[in-house]
Symmetry: C2
Subunit: 236 residues, 2 copies
DNA sequence: ACCTGAACACCGTTCAAGT
DNA sequence: ACCTGAACACCGTTCAAGT
């Protein structure tokens, strides 16, 4: 499955000597990640990446069979360095720590979110988060099936929030929403006009993220408590 | 703000007589929506749309100043016909009805989700859903600020789910996940390997959507109950 | 006034050729 | 073996020209 990877050329100095500079697959992926973090996923093209590292466009295809394969390598480069926090405190505290770490990774690399909305991310390095989240849920008392559904809920919220409320754009999103709000007729939109400052503020921000996550954890906790009084209800 | 829209040519018969067929802005948007529903957002280009309706590419720019403007018109075309359910039952039942209606619209028109992840949707026809959701929350007892945060949570979950678990792909998503799961080492991924059939199943499906929504509504309900015993805590 | 072909600066990728 | 220029079939959009 794994294709042979081109090796970096011998020299441990950064100098390019002899004829051509050569890169490892990881170096190329890192350069692409850097580009994408700075200019957005839409700025990444095979020719642009080739230009940045100083090779011919088609040389990139020696490292990645297609742009999709490059995107998956970018995911690896972004996710590998992420560290999972330790397992201290209640299951909710552990969950907040892990989800917080994942959220920071998505905030640092918004392209991850765009990539996931194109196709599922199933790389081992990325699945470490899922492994941990399901572990916390099972430890908390959820059976396998419900732990999976709860994981899906948390995962959906994380990516949904990162996709809809990009961390860098909060101010602009609020402004645009506020402009749109002033155009609404109060007789047709009584609630949106009455609460305009509140819902436009809620277009993004860390406090919004935590508010939602806490409600989800409360809802899951309620499920555990209901199950302990009447055990059958968990499998209904 | 509104630019003058080209008018449909007089004849009420569909026949194109005289020289050229002409379309209204709405007809063009509908044609684009149809294309996008059938072949995906990536299949939509200005030249392709022009070809479908039988005009020169540049004629499309007489209706929409840019592709972005076309996308917003597509949102209108998709959302306008959506009907909001009546206000019967508890606030949770009302919420499930409205969110269900929104979810069906997003399922019918997956391009709406892709468009939203590019830029906020702030068209009045689309905001009808937000108007209703905030109305239900305020009626249930949430103050403006918390109603806005709760709306944001529900909205994030709806779009996140539609984006991560496209209704048409559930079977394929499960298969791809199952394949990835068999490649995981049980010693490094004990939870993911032990619950593989469960979490791969949870990659999509209506039951997953409702599971998550119900937990969110439970979490919000818990918040209301806590507030009624100690009112101050809502504003902490 | 309304429409549109040609052209530009891009895409991802195939192919054939360079060393 | 490794690299790459030219080319193809696309993009969104500008511009100048048709009727």
């Amino acid at each position: 499955m794994e294709k042979a990877q081109p090796r970096t050329v011998g020299s441990s100095t950064g100098r390019r000597r002899g004829r051509k500079p050569r890169f490892s697959r990881e170096q190329l992926a890192s350069a692409a990640l850097e580009l994408v973090d700075r200019d957005g996923l839409e700025a990444l093209s095979m020719q642009r990446l080739a230009e940045i590292v100083g090779m011919g466009t088609m040389t990139v295809y020696g490292y990645f069979r297609s742009k999709d394969e490059l995107l998956q390598a970018i995911v690896d480069a972004a996710v590998q360095p992420a560290e999972l926090p330790g397992a201290e405190g209640s299951w909710q505290e552990q969950m907040r720590a892990v989800v917080g770490a994942a959220h920071r990774t998505l905030t640092r690399h918004p392209a991850l979110v765009q990539i996931r909305f194109r196709e599922p991310i199933l790389r081992p390095d990325a699945l470490r988060f899922g492994e941990r989240i399901i572990g916390i849920l099972r430890e908390a008392g959820f059976e396998a099936a419900e732990a999976a559904s709860a994981f899906r809920l948390i995962f959906t919220y994380m990516f949904g929030f990162a996709g809809l409320s990009p961390a860098g754009n909060t101010a602009r999103a609020r402004n645009e929403a506020a402009t749109a709000a002033t155009a609404l007729r109060p007789d047709k939109f009584p609630n949106l006009t009455a609460t305009a400052s509140e819902w436009t503020h809620a277009m993004g921000g860390t406090d919004q993220f935590h508010y939602g996550l806490d409600r989800i954890l409360d809802g899951l906790q309620a499920r555990l408590e209901r199950a302990s009084t009447s055990p059958a209800s968990l499998n209904q």
